[in-house]
């Protein structure tokens, strides 16, 4: 089975702080990590390889420091890794990003399964991976818990709000993974050492001669950011106090009852 996983390096948004004056992110000191849902997607891919044989390729579109997450993917068991990088790709929204990634995937060959995480914890759009399906003409299976291959068919369990759908589809497929999909494996020491020494080839614009440049970068992005701001806090915080938990409870419920909230 030929598997490709799209991963993204993101700041650990649990650690992020905002500069309230400039309305920008304070990036220094925030660790960069592999997007957690992409890690789930990678685990799905590695598990498919364990069961059905084949190869797992990982790609990431990003600046040179994104090679760190590609190395991490190799240390977990991915076979090949590529960094998709070029100044021309900068400023891409989800449409342009998914287009660029799909062109890079086309260049690398034919894939049975394309995987990605359900959303990136910085952009939070959840659009990029599914959009790749459209560009490549793959059947899309989003929010997939697990997959089983059955000849040229695949049976997947999909998490929807109301329960779990069991879906049948044909290759090639694009799947997005969630936290519930699996528990990503740790690297092995052997692979970790090898990944630190690995050469990560780059795919630049020059490597994609057949691609439509008008679909890339800022110019290729149908959506544009008008403004950004930090969220306002407007609480009318009333502190409820009391000498005993009973007094506190009485005070709170009293207030809620008075305000006809309860």
């Amino acid at each position: 089975m030929n598997i490709v996983v799209c991963i993204k390096q993101v700041p650990d948004t649990t650690e992020i702080k905002i500069d309230p004056v400039k309305n920008t992110l304070i990036r220094t000191g925030v660790p960069s990590i592999m997007n957690p849902f992409d890690k789930n997607a990678l685990e799905t891919g590695l598990s498919l390889k364990d069961r059905y044989g084949g190869k797992v390729t990982v790609i990431s579109m990003g600046p040179p420091q994104a090679k760190a997450v590609l190395r991490e993917a190799l240390s977990m068991g991915a076979d090949e890794a590529y960094l998709v990088t070029d100044r021309a790709f900068g400023g891409s929204d989800t449409y342009a990003t998914s287009y660029i990634l799909s062109q890079a995937i086309k260049k690398l060959g034919d894939f049975d399964v394309i995987l990605g995480g359900k959303q990136a914890i910085d952009g939070d759009t959840g659009q990029t991976a599914p959009s790749i399906a459209e560009h490549l003409g793959a059947a899309r299976l989003t929010y997939i818990l697990d997959l089983e291959a059955d000849g040229d068919k695949v049976i997947a369990r999909r998490q929807v709000e109301e329960g779990i759908e069991v879906i049948e589809a044909r290759f090639p497929i694009l799947c997005t993974a969630t936290k519930e999909s699996n528990k990503p494996r740790y690297a092995t020491i052997k692979r970790k050492i090898a990944s630190l020494k690995a050469e990560i080839p780059e795919i630049t614009l020059a490597d994609l001669p057949d691609a439509d440049v008008s679909k890339m970068g800022l110019k290729g992005s149908p959506t544009k950011v008008k403004a950004t701001f930090t969220p306002k806090r407007t609480a009318c915080g009333v502190t409820i106090e009391g000498n005993t938990p009973g007094e506190i409870a009485n005070a709170l419920i009293g207030k809620l009852a008075d305000g006809k909230i309860l």
Binding site: S75, R185, Y186, A187, T188, I189, K190, K192, I193, L196
Partner: protein, 380 residues
């Protein structure tokens, strides 16, 4: 932490730390109470390759240096030294077969361990601890097989192992020169695992008796020439000695980490106790001993990596570090005060865990004799 770690070492330590904190640490307290480590927990270590880190690649190992392997095991011991020693005992046993045995024997042993199995070292007996030559287990030649009989005690990984290196007297009259080493499959008929030792500390480590009753092994299972068993055992101890020292460093570091954290939070007389000079003195002495121990372990490992048979150095390392660990963990309990004495807090376990480091791998008293004997020979 005073060592100058390479980028690679830092990455490996971060990886092991993440696994140990997330997957092992949450279960340690309960396992310590029960006196048993759940088997599933070992899978994390096996998957990562911790059972064969310093074993050469040709045997399926990772081929790491002793130096780096020791760093990794210090990290693991911070979470639990008993968990760590399960893996240490295994690869030390394998390493000894590789050093003293034939290629086939090394391959056989490695093939048993690689998929995810443990090994043990069956040397000690009820009447033969510091004096291994007093062992009563026998190996009698019968055709092309040896028949093994005897009882071994305090065997780490006794109930967990798939394979052992066992020591038996082929020539009882010859004292220590009559001991030979054998590779024994744990499922060989006649091998019985005895009761599990209910220990003071290191309770995640499995320790049992082993009974050998007319166990038959092929003559080709003998490791090294006949009568070379004692020398093999001593060489084995040379290697494992420094290794257990790295585990003691891990225990000490954990004790120091917990103590400093506590001392900063705990207030008496309106002040965090870390501001009191006597507490400061305790913490400082703890830090001094941890740093000195770590550097000593690291240097001993580098000598081992150079192929030096570290008889004196290993003894010095093990003796110094295990004595330090006693003091450091006892003082950790002291800093926690009454809470330190309670099982709700993590330090009393550390104190219980480290006592055995002054006893096994050659009691510290024997170590001192060894060191003195070497000094005697060194100076003409």
């Amino acid at each position: 932490m005073s060592l100058l770690y390479t980028e690679e070492q830092k990455e490996l330590l971060a990886l092991v730390r993440e696994m140990a904190e997330n997957e092992i640490k949450p279960y340690v307290k309960e396992a310590d109470e029960k006196g048993e480590c759940p088997r599933e927990l070992f899978k994390w270590g096996f998957d990562m390759g911790l059972h064969m880190l310093e074993i050469p690649e040709e045997y399926g190992g990772t081929g790491l240096s002793y130096e780096t392997t020791a760093m990794i095991f210090e990290e693991l011991a911070k979470v639990d030294a008993g968990y760590a020693i399960t893996f240490v005992t295994t690869f030390v046993a394998l390493r000894n077969v590789i050093l003293a045995g034939t290629k086939e024997q090394g391959q056989y042993f490695a093939d048993k361990i690689r998929p995810g199995s443990f090994a043990g070292f069956a040397l000690t007996e009820p009447n033969a601890g510091s004096d291994p030559a007093a062992m009563r287990s026998t190996a009698v030649l019968d055709g092309d097989e040896y028949i093994l009989n005897g009882t071994k005690t305090f065997i780490t990984n006794g109930a967990l192992s798939d394979v052992f290196v066992g020591f038996f007297k082929t020539t009882p009259a010859a004292g220590h020169k009559g001991i030979s080493a054998f590779i024994i499959d744990a499922d060989a008929p006649g091998v019985t695992v005895g009761a599990h030792e209910n220990k003071m500390g290191l309770r995640l480590s499995n320790t049992t008796d082993l009974i050998f009753e007319n166990v038959r092994v092929k003559a080709s299972a003998m490791v090294g020439p006949e009568g070379s068993g004692f020398k093999l055992a001593l060489n084995a101890l040379n290697l494992s000695r420094a290794f257990v020292a790295t585990l003691a460093v891990g225990i000490m570091q954990r004790a120091l980490d917990e103590s400093v954290k506590y001392a900063k939070e705990r207030k008496q007389f309106g002040t965090p106790i870390i501001k009191f000079q006597m507490v400061q003195a305790l913490l400082a002495d703890m830090a001094i001993k941890v740093e000195a121990s770590r550097c000593l372990v690291n240097n001993t490992m580098r000598m081992m990596d150079q192929g030096i048979m570290v008889q004196k150095e290993g003894s010095i390392c093990k003796t110094f570090v295990s004595d330090c660990a006693q003091e450091v963990t006892s003082n950790a309990v002291q800093i926690f005060g009454g809470y330190g004495y309670s099982k709700e807090y993590p330090v009393e376990k550390l104190m219980r865990d480290c006592k055995v480091f002054q006893i096994f791998e050659g009691a510290n008293q024997i170590q001192r004799m060894t060191i003195a004997n070497v000094l005697d020979k060194e100076y003409r």
